[in-house]
């Protein structure tokens, strides 16, 4: 590898991340030797049913997003595992946190794929080989995962280099980008499965096949992704590395002795988790606007429930009241095996300092209520105020307008 760092992007690629995550937490050593398909329920799939989230590496003809029925028809002996997407997301977040301890700019591309900005760090780390080693060690500290790293002048080439590298190794793109990308299959493209099938129907199997056509032809035929497809097939990618936004959360976890639907067991567990989480919150002098409960359900998909509080709270009684009220109206789908309680939308201020002026106090209260509504609804709040524009205008519609209040 070259010792001097130009603008280099590293792609940290953990292939079949969901399968690796499942293998990590299963005591059955034979899990790694059997063909596994991770299935998820997809409302957006054209089949309206379950689709493939991930699969074992030997099932090379399966693509994420493929209907589960098609996957099973190709591999009837495969073991189906229900996807635990929260667990995979949490594990990958831990990997991203570890990577961000090494480099400041880390982007979460998708499950198992992250980009790290490796430029400008020569004085800190020396050459790119050292950075690769540090990234691999950081990911390895989280879990014993098969991590592959690719280096390239853009995100796409770095990703391809990572895909081509051997387990626990790295590869760097040197030379003509188009020639490097040409040999990769079209399944590597970040486009929906329907677009992949369309490309295949035209006899296009490799990226080099696509690069042989003019850009306009590919863009027109495969719109709206056509232009992107042509650029990636030629090794061009001007997408910047966008650093991830870290959302601070406080999470506590407990397991039930046996799967249960009894509120006599679930509620005390929630109370205990609440005490522990509030203890950590109180230490940082902050309040919480929203709490999420998540549980694995015996032989079913995981269950979750979120509660947004009317006021940011820091006390057990208020939080428990809101959680119990919502739990009473919620149907639990089956016996719960465990419970995770997560605080999110944490406030920064330990208290509220109010203004002496009533107008400003009123405005501050309004802003506060809007923040609460926004946390509850998860979208911009449709609250407006009337503003004078031209009250003297002879045209009535020019005199006043409604302006959206922003929090």
């Amino acid at each position: 590898m070259q010792s001097r760092l130009e603008r280099i992007i590293a792609c940290v690629y953990i292939p079949h991340f969901a399968v690796q995550a499942e293998a990590m937490r299963r005591a059955d050593a034979g899990f790694n030797r059997m063909p596994v398909v991770i299935a998820r329920s997809s409302e957006s799939s054209t089949s309206g049913g379950r689709t493939v989230l991930d699969c074992s590496h030997e099932l090379t003809d399966l693509i994420p997003g493929m209907p589960l029925s098609e996957a099973l028809s190709r591999h009837p002996g495969a073991v189906i595992v229900e996807a635990d997407e929260q667990y995979y997301a949490d594990l990958f977040e831990a990997v991203l946190d570890a990577l961000q301890d090494v480099v400041p700019v880390v982007e979460n591309e998708s499950l198992g794929v992250a980009y790290a900005g490796a430029w400008g760090l020569e004085r800190l780390y020396g050459n790119d080989a050292h950075i690769v080693r540090l990234l691999a060690e950081a990911a390895g500290k989280v879990a014993a995962l098969d991590v592959r790293i690719g280096l390239g002048p853009n995100k796409w080439l770095a990703h391809l280099a990572a895909m081509e590298s051997a387990p626990h190794s790295a590869r760097k793109v040197i030379g003509d980008p188009g020639r490097f990308a040409a040999r990769f299959p079209i399944e590597a493209l970040p486009v929906p499965i329907e677009t992949i099938e369309r490309l295949r129907s035209f006899g296009l199997e490799k990226l080099g096949d696509i690069a042989a056509f003019p850009e306009g032809a590919v863009a027109a035929e495969f719109a709206p992704e056509g232009r992107l497809i042509w650029k990636l097939a030629n090794g061009f990618d001007d997408r910047p590395v966008v650093s991830r936004h870290v959302v601070e959360r406080i999470s506590e976890y407990t397991e039930f002795p046996s799967p249960t639907v009894s509120q006599a067991i679930v509620l005390p567990a929630i109370e205990s988790l609440l005490d522990r989480a509030l203890g950590r919150l109180g230490a940082s002098n902050r309040y919480v606007r929203k709490v999420e409960l998540m549980s694995h359900v015996f032989q079913r998909a995981p269950w979750s429930m979120s509660v947004a509080f009317k006021e940011p709270i820091g006390t057990r009684s208020l939080a428990l009241f809101a959680i119990k009220a919502k739990l009473d109206r919620t149907e639990i789908p089956g016996p719960l095996e465990d419970m995770r309680l997560t605080f999110s939308s944490l406030t920064g201020e330990p208290g509220r300092q109010e203004s002496l002026w009533s107008d400003i106090r009123r405005q501050a209260r309004l802003t506060h209520y809007m923040q609460q509504l926004q946390a509850r609804l998860g979208t911009e709040v449709p609250v407006f105020r009337m503003k004078e524009l031209e009250p003297w205008s002879r045209l009535p519609e020019r005199r006043y307008a409604l302006v959206r209040l922003s929090s």
Binding site: P396, R398, Y400, A401, V403
Partner: protein
């Protein structure tokens, strides 16, 4: 310089109040309205769901009229503003303010004039 504490106003975030709404009228020989189709409005005077059948209400009197414009003529004929306003009293004692757009000839309703 300290930034203003007021919320910044952008054109895209404005919703103008009291925009004119098209209305159907019947006119006499002199061009004054004698009937107005109230089917676009419910009994409270707010805009309701438009029903298929027209609900013509007779106009008892024209209590006032005034003219606005011609104005903004420099923006071209398409944007010029010239209106003749009428304050009407309907046969069911309701008051209504309408105007005739002298540029395109359409009739519109407008409140709080």
């Amino acid at each position: 310089m300290v930034a203003t504490a007021r919320t910044s106003v952008r054109a895209s975030s404005l919703k103008f109040l009291n925009s004119p709404r098209e209305v159907r009228t019947r006119l006499d020989e002199s061009g004054l309205p004698v009937d107005i189709d109230m089917s676009a409005f419910d009994m409270t005077g707010r805009r309701g769901r438009r029903t298929p059948a027209a609900q013509w209400v007779a106009i008892r009197s024209v209590d006032d009229k005034w003219k606005v414009g011609p104005d903004e003529w420099w923006r071209g004929e398409a944007h010029m503003i010239e209106r003749m306003y009428f304050e009407l009293r309907l046969e069911d004692e309701r008051r209504l303010t309408v105007f005739r757009d002298m540029v395109n000839g359409g009739w519109f309703r407008q409140e709080d004039v």
